[in-house]
């Protein structure tokens, strides 16, 4: 059973990790603990709680920058930004319901997992908004990278390396992120009754339009029926959605244009701000896949135009799924009793796109997450390079060992 360590500041994090590195003790890093079920199962000598690294240290709205302790609650940051009509543009999702936890997300956790919501399509992922960091490597040495400015080519961009590294390289202690104005107005145009392939084409058209769409998703009929938004729930058929955001007159103009464009393909409807927000939160937070509590949940990042084909292949043994990111992100729920319990559908899902993409097992029982590759396996040369990078930060393999792959 891992013993808990509770450092009170970044200096103590350094002390503890230096000691752990020197004594070859393994350490699990814990921010808010909301994403403990994401990734492979980690068993360590110690659990290092970063919760004391809390609080916003700098927020300058007109400079579009915010710096905070890595364990600052995401909710606190979002509330602070909302007061200035700003936001984290990458739209971090909330997987609380997916994992059945009420634990709060931290900004460091969101960055370490590189999570992003529907606006990923236009605004980029968490990594694109991650400007600077202070952290402690698995060597037990404090280091920093980046800064507080958006344009920066001063040494290697280690922020990118930390984003999505799930605490396997370093403990983040302080992070600096770019923030952006919240849109003045939000509208969503809905297109009804398209099959998956037709929806992908419609989304590709919208994404290739000059209308700066900020999100594009497609919900097959069974998924749409689970929405809390009446226009979507009551459609009785598949619903394809596009979101437009910005200054009032511009949003009106672009909404009209998209209604015309999609109106040529089928029946269309329009959601205003409130309903738009509900719908896109559902899509971001995987709400439509939640009713089956035991389902194995996969997330696939693929070439958008291949989305429908991949979905068909991945669901060959049953299950349900929907599309975000104009068809480039697939969320799947595979019923536990209909798929191979040994691999949780990994073979089927990964076979469906043949290596040109990335599939992550987002939810599954512990024994499954211990036995299959949760993250996409990589070719040997890339795997070896990634292992050397792990070694460059954490030569004794003490940080979150096995969280991403068997070796690191």
């Amino acid at each position: 059973m891992a013993e808990d360590l509770q450092p009170t500041d970044a200096g103590q994090v350094t002390e503890m990790l230096a000691w752990a590195a020197g004594s070859k003790k393994t350490v699990e890093l814990v921010g808010g603990g909301s994403k403990a079920a994401l990734g492979r199962v980690v068993e360590t000598d110690y659990r290092l709680h970063l919760s004391a690294l809390d609080g916003v240290n700098l927020y300058e709205p007109e400079e579009l920058v915010l710096r905070a302790g890595a364990a600052t609650s995401l909710g606190q940051i979002q509330a602070m930004l909302a007061q200035q009509r700003q936001q984290l543009a990458f739209e971090p999702p909330d997987f609380g319901d997916l994992y059945g936890t009420t634990k709060e997300q931290t900004i460091g956790g969101v960055l370490a997992a590189n999570l992003a919501g529907p606006r990923r399509l236009k605004a980029g992922a968490a990594r694109d908004h991650f400007l600077g960091l202070e952290g402690v490597s698995g060597r037990g040495a404090a280091f920093k990278s980046g800064g507080r400015v958006v344009k920066n080519v001063t040494g290697y961009d280690l922020c990118k390396l930390m984003a999505g590294s799930f605490g396997t390289l370093a403990a983040l202690t302080e992070v600096t992120v770019k923030v952006l104005p919240s849109p003045e107005k939000i509208r969503t145009v809905l297109l009804f009754a398209q099959d998956d392939a037709a929806a992908i084409t419609a989304m590709s058209q919208a994404a290739g339009s000059p209308h700066e769409v900020s999100a594009l998703a497609h919900l097959p009929a069974a998924i749409a029926a689970r929405s809390a938004v009446s226009y979507v729930k009551g459609a009785g058929d598949a619903v394809t959605a596009v979101r437009v955001e910005g200054p009032g007159p511009s949003v009106e103009h672009r909404t009209e244009a998209l209604r015309r464009q999609w109106g040529a393909l089928g029946a269309v409807e329009e959601l205003h701000g409130h309903n738009s927000n509900i719908l896109w939160r559902e899509i971001a937070n995987v709400a439509p896949l939640l009713p089956d509590r035991d389902a194995i949940v996969w997330k696939l990042s693929v070439t958008p135009s291949l989305g429908a084909e991949v979905m068909r292949g991945a669901l060959a043994a049953g299950g349900a799924g929907y599309y975000d990111w104009a068809g480039g992100l697939l969320w799947l729920a595979l019923p536990a009793n209909e798929i191979s319990s040994e691999d949780g559908g990994a073979g089927l899902v990964r076979g469906a796109f043949g290596g040109a993409g990335h599939a992550t097992l987002m939810r599954g029982p512990e024994d499954l997450r211990a036995s299959v590759e949760v993250f996409q396996p990589t070719p040997p040369a890339l795997a070896a390079l990634s292992a050397r990078i792990k070694d460059a930060f954490d030569p004794h393999g003490i940080l979150n060992p096995g969280r991403m792959h068997g070796a690191f």
Binding site: E62, F143, T154
Partner: protein, 494 residues
């Protein structure tokens, strides 16, 4: 600028190396003639020159892999080079190294409108990508001023920006996939046409790594549909404080313009004499604000920006009435460097980034430094994102180079002091290498070099750039960290 001492053991192998290289790249792909090598002796930072052992111009990925393997085996240093437009000396040759030129990798491999992606070889110019998709109304967003000449491979190496990156991001935000060759000869593909790849973000790490980690042989970029309309506004101010205030207030009002550039009096005058764009000569500071999107949005936002400018005390405001005029407004800005070149025998372009709200203070102190060093300075500024390009005017023939370098270093120290960084988009290269300790601790730099060791354990790829002190990888691995306190008696546990 002190470069690593050429290694005698490498120089002695030159003949054998040339024979081996010619076996890999037959014909004219290996340049060893002393006159021909001169063409490669510097990059865009032309104050520094050095003749390489040889230049090799491969045409295929297997050739690149074989060259890398050969150099790793023989212990030869390799300096990758795209179009050679680097302003920080990233492609400066080493006397005991070869130049691996990617100029023949100049093909656009695939245009995929359905997935809004273009797959190209690294020697394609930045503008070449936009031109290739122009007929269908698409473009590639990052637009460094040198876009007509600079290669996309070089853009990846330096994480190039441009005047539109406030809204559309820099190179790293616009890449989907990369293929790179390591010194071991291994070919590694990252990303693709999908958005997130998971695993360690090596594509993000490679971008801006200045040719120290691997040689990029293929790039997939994201393309965007051109906005329906774009209009530029020229706004004159009686002081740079007021112009800077206007920039902050525009962003504070929730407006993110496509581009927002500032020029000071010296830059305005030099550009106007060169380009006749109609810049207001009485102004102390000029803002060029570009708004793009649907016509109604652009009109709406131009009104709001105009109101804010008036509140900030602007003295003139001109809105572009057509595409020609918009292009002319930008032509003056994009030609600011050559315009300065006309009025001074030499100039040096700096590239610090600062928090925007420190601009007025930085400009004032820069004027003091200008007086102290006895050299003039003109400023162009990516105002939206705080990226400053002071142009130091000097005459190398009058022995002013060293003073200019000192002045430049003082400016960059000032940028760091106010919370900024040494480089926004040109890279560290050799130019700012020795200032890295102003920003980073020894451990920060050691950690970065350990990352390099994961790619290049023998330090053969572009050594002498970026890092002021080169450590052997074995030495970096052994560096002992302070052992930490053992059982933490005073630390709360639960």
């Amino acid at each position: 600028m002190l470069m690593p001492k050429p290694e005698g053991a490498i120089l002695a192998q030159r003949q054998g190396l040339l024979t081996d290289l010619r076996e890999i790249v037959p014909g004219e792909g290996v340049i060893a003639d002393n006159v021909a090598l001169r063409a490669y002796e510097s990059d865009g930072l032309s104050a520094y020159r050095s003749v390489p052992l040889a230049v090799v111009l491969p045409e295929t990925v297997p050739q690149v892999a074989a060259i890398m393997q050969l150099c790793e085996r023989r212990g030869i240093k390799v300096v990758p080079r795209g179009a050679g437009t680097s302003l920080s000396g990233g492609a400066l040759p080493l006397e005991d190294g070869i130049i691996l030129g990617l100029g023949k990798f100049n093909r656009i491999l695939e245009i995929d409108y359905e997935n809004r992606a273009v797959r190209v070889q690294p020697g394609v110019t930045n503008l070449g990508i936009s031109l290739a998709v122009d007929d269908n109304g698409f473009y590639y967003a990052p637009d460094p001023s040198s876009q007509i000449a600079c290669s996309i491979g070089g853009n990846v190496a330096e994480n190039a920006g441009g005047v539109h990156c406030l809204k559309y991001g820099v190179t790293t935000n616009n890449l989907l996939g990369l293929e790179m060759v390591l010194l071991s000869g291994e070919v590694i593909r990252l990303g693709g046409k999908h958005l997130d790849s998971g695993g360690y973000d090596l594509m993000g790490l490679l971008t801006g790594s200045e040719g120290l980690l691997g040689v990029v042989t293929e790039i997939t970029v994201r393309i965007l549909k051109k906005p329906e309309t774009a209009r530029a506004v020229l706004i004159g101010f009686p002081s740079s404080e007021q112009a800077g205030d206007c920039v902050s207030r525009v962003i504070g009002a929730g407006i993110i313009p496509g581009g927002m550039e500032m020029m000071d009096r010296a830059a305005i005058h030099a550009s106007e004499e060169f380009c006749h764009a109609g810049y207001p000569l009485e102004a102390e500071a000029l803002l060029i604000v570009e708004l793009d999107g649907p016509g109604r949005e652009v009109d709406h936002l131009i009104d709001r920006v105009g109101e804010i400018a008036t509140q900030c005390g602007s003295t003139s405001l001109r809105i572009s009435q057509n595409e020609e005029e918009r292009a002319a407004f930008w032509a003056g800005r994009k030609a600011a460097f050559p315009a300065i070149g006309r009025i001074s025998p030499d100039y040096m372009c700096m590239d610090g980034t600062i928090p925007r709200n420190r601009l007025a203070e930085v400009l004032k102190r820069m004027a003091e430094l200008s007086e102290h060093h006895g050299l003039r300075v003109a400023n162009v500024f990516h105002a939206g994102d705080g990226n400053l390009h002071p142009l130091i005017l000097f005459d190398a023939n009058a022995g002013e180079l060293e003073t200019a370098e000192k002045f430049g270093a003082d400016i960059l120290r000032l940028c760091v002091e106010v919370g900024g960084v040494l480089s926004g988009e040109h890279g560290i290269g050799i130019e700012k290498r020795d200032l890295m300790a102003e920003v980073f601790t020894e451990e920060d730099l050691a950690q970065q070099q350990r990352v390099k060791c994961a790619f290049d354990p023998n330090g053969r790829l572009n050594p002498g750039k970026v890092f002021p002190v080169l450590h052997r990888c074995a030495e970096l691995g052994k560096m002992v960290v302070h052992q930490g306190k053992i059982p933490f008696p005073d630390i709360p546990r639960f």
